[in-house]
């Protein structure tokens, strides 16, 4: 068993005392920021990027990955206790989790979430261990045309599966690609869009953009709201679920693991969509769907399992194809690039330490998380006492200093401020900055592959049809667009029918996607 041998080697990397420490720091920070409303995994990882620059690449990715899946655990706590999702993927958990708290079953809800998260996470890591090496063998054979197609598929799925308007997301992706062209042309060295500024010749710094859009932008947005700290008054008891609870939720956990794993592998997958999909699935399968929204344990167990499974399997496209499937992974991709490691099909062979070390660290991290979450949940709740004003003020100062430390250049501080203001305006106008950052990262690789393709084909676009990989992918994209049109026109018919039935119902249908995206954007605001 090749994979097992390699995994063993990975464990020897992960059990290095420094790396163990980084897993621990990662999962603790992850749980903490999951608990703290207003500071999600994206903002946190963006804030920490400059620090990872000084670290060894394996340790850096191990820590950042820990923050990501750790935040999936932590986000549950406030969703269940206060109906305040700490990060977007936990919005769904508020529906039934908060109801369970009202019924005095807060402990059970938290317990089953932690257990489900552990199972989902572990199933996905096992999948990652065995599937990723196979996929990378296939991926090595993909040529530049296929690569262009894969990246376009990735961007397309990220924009269309996102929570906001597809056209807006496509626009943002375009802006991201355009921003990535600022600086010197990779082939001829001609200055592009630098407006005579020598500081721009090297291009815009990815870290500065990410920190601006996600760090500063989100902080400004959360400061704009007057927030009051909420105290947890609930007594948490019976955290270990009863035998009946286990029986009720075992199906949801099993389905959530599988569903989450596969959704995570898709570009654009990751936390939010998987938890929604799992909730929808459980509700549809239930004998009595009316229990949902009133404290059904499956409605907590399924989504929490799925979001952990998907946040783990989302590493597959990143580590195997070099395509980050969501913004958090795009930031981790950026962290690897900072260390001179380009994620892609070669990663597993060229840097086996990074690949297998990170995979092995995930097994350890998940174990640490369940230990942290079940007995120590009370400690994390105490963190809610830290007032939002203090937290965001210090976070802002750390951003400003952190971004300076990347190149020791005050110019980057101005970039962060400009993108911070842009990010804040985008949030207000409901433009999702995620596709922009993703496209900004993919931009240079996409341009390079596109130019290579054009050189190979001597300027003919026919190569995209004759290359089997790219042809298959473009057909897939076409099918997605077709599917989108069909469902949209059906929905419109449905709305018309509903409008005939009664105004209230039609309103709900039309508002469903918008309302959800609002709720996800306003995750730090909580319920009125």
């Amino acid at each position: 068993m090749d994979a097992l041998n390699n995994l063993g080697q990975g464990f020897s990397v992960a059990f290095d005392p420094m790396n163990l420490l980084f897993v621990f720091i990662g999962v603790v920070i992850g749980t903490a920021i999951g608990v703290l409303p207003g500071l999600g995994p994206t903002a946190t990882i963006a804030l920490l990027l400059p620090i990872t620059y000084t670290m060894d690449p394996v340790g850096a990715v191990i820590m950042l990955a820990g923050i990501y899946y750790g935040s999936m655990y932590g986000g549950t706590i406030t969703s269940v206790l206060l109906r305040l999702p700490g990060e977007a993927a936990s919005v769904v958990t508020t529906f039934d989790g908060y109801q369970m708290t009202k019924q005095g079953r807060a402990g059970t809800a938290l317990g089953i979430s932690a257990i489900g998260s552990f199972i989902g996470g572990t199933v996905a890591i096992v999948g990652l261990t065995f599937l990723a090496p196979l996929l990378s063998k296939v991926a090595v054979a993909v040529g530049p045309a296929g690569y262009v197609a894969i990246m376009i598929l990735g961007l397309f799925l990220v924009t269309s599966l996102g929570t906001g308007s597809t056209v807006k997301s496509l626009f943002m992706a375009g802006v991201g690609l355009l921003l990535s062209t600022v600086g010197q042309d990779p082939v001829t060295g001609t200055a592009r869009f630098t407006f005579g500024q020598t500081s721009l010749l090297g291009g815009l710094d990815f870290v500065a953009i990410a920190m601006g859009l996600f760090g500063v932008g989100e902080l400004l947005h959360s400061l704009e709201r007057s927030e009051k700290g909420q105290a947890v008054t609930t007594k948490i008891k019976n955290i270990w679920p009863s035998r009946k609870d286990f029986k009720d939720s075992s199906g949801a956990i099993a389905r959530g693991s599988v569903l989450g794993f596969f959704i995570g592998v898709l570009p654009g997958g990751g936390g939010v969509i998987s938890s929604l999909a799992s909730y929808a699935m459980e509700k549809r399968r239930a004998k009595d769907p009316s229990r949902f929204g009133k404290g059904a344990i499956e409605g907590v167990a399924g989504p929490e399992t799925a979001n952990n499974a998907s946040s783990t399997s989302a590493f597959i496209p990143l580590l195997v194809l070099g395509i980050p499937s969501n913004v958090v992974l795009a930031l981790i991709y950026g962290a690897l690039l900072l260390h001179g490691i380009t994620p892609g099909p070669q990663l597993i062979n060229d840097h086996p330490n990074v690949f297998w070390g990170v995979v092995a660290s995930m097994y350890i991290g998940n174990l640490m998380l369940i230990i942290l979450n079940i007995p120590l949940v009370g400690v994390f709740i105490q963190m809610l006492r830290v007032r939002a004003g203090i937290l965001s003020t210090f976070a802002l100062l750390v951003v400003m200093v952190g971004v300076f430390s990347i190149n020791n250049n005050p110019f980057d501080m101005w970039v962060v401020l400009v993108f911070g203001v842009l990010g804040w305006v985008m949030i207000k106008a409901h433009f999702d900055p995620g596709p922009l950052v993703l496209a900004f990262i993919l931009g240079p690789i996409l341009e390079k592959s596109f130019r290579q393709t054009m050189l190979i084909s001597e300027g003919s676009f026919g190569i995209f049809a004759s290359d089997p990989v790219s042809a298959a992918i473009f057909i897939l994209i076409g099918l997605f667009i077709l599917y989108g049109f069909i469902t949209r026109s059906r929905r419109r018919q449905g709305t018309r029918r509903a409008a005939a039935a009664g105004p209230e119902e039609s309103n709900t249908l039309v508002h469903a996607p918008a309302a959800l995206s609002n709720s996800i954007r306003q995750k730090d605001k909580g319920a009125p």
Binding site: K168, L397, A512, A514, L516, N518
Partner: protein, 181 residues
Amino acid sequence: MGMDMTKLALGPAELEYDRPPAGKNDRPGHQQRRLVPLVLVAAGVSAVIGSWRLSLGELNSPGPGLWPFIVSIAVTITAAILTLVPDSAVPETWTRRTAGIAGGVGSLCVFVVLFESIGFLIPAFLMLMLWLRAFGREPWRWTIPLAVGGAVVLHVIFAGLLGVPFPDDIVVTTLPRTIGF
């Protein structure tokens, strides 16, 4: 795909608390919805012109402007679609706190300028004081110790432990002299 499942998953009751308040926000929202995409189209068009000027080259030997040209056309097209079919999400309105945020951003600009000229400690202390007091609404008994402690701790972490070369710090250079070292 995700959205369809959402629709199935969420019943009316669950969506109730998320719905944006209807009524009074509609008018300014409508104007913004038309104005913003127009600005974006203009930006897209100027990017198209900018890339054209960089010289496009041929498809088999692309010039520096070809790729930006393709991308900026895509940007312009999507912005144009937004002008014609505005998104249904209502933009958030501007409140009194919005003006406060603008002031906050201004203070950060001052921070950068001061940081470049007199180093980290004093600007960081001032920034923390302003933000903790004005935005965090902390009482003075918390603001002052947090601002002093925060500035010093961050200085030690970044300049001391991580070795980040901050611009010459007025406090670090003058303090030893004043206390007689």
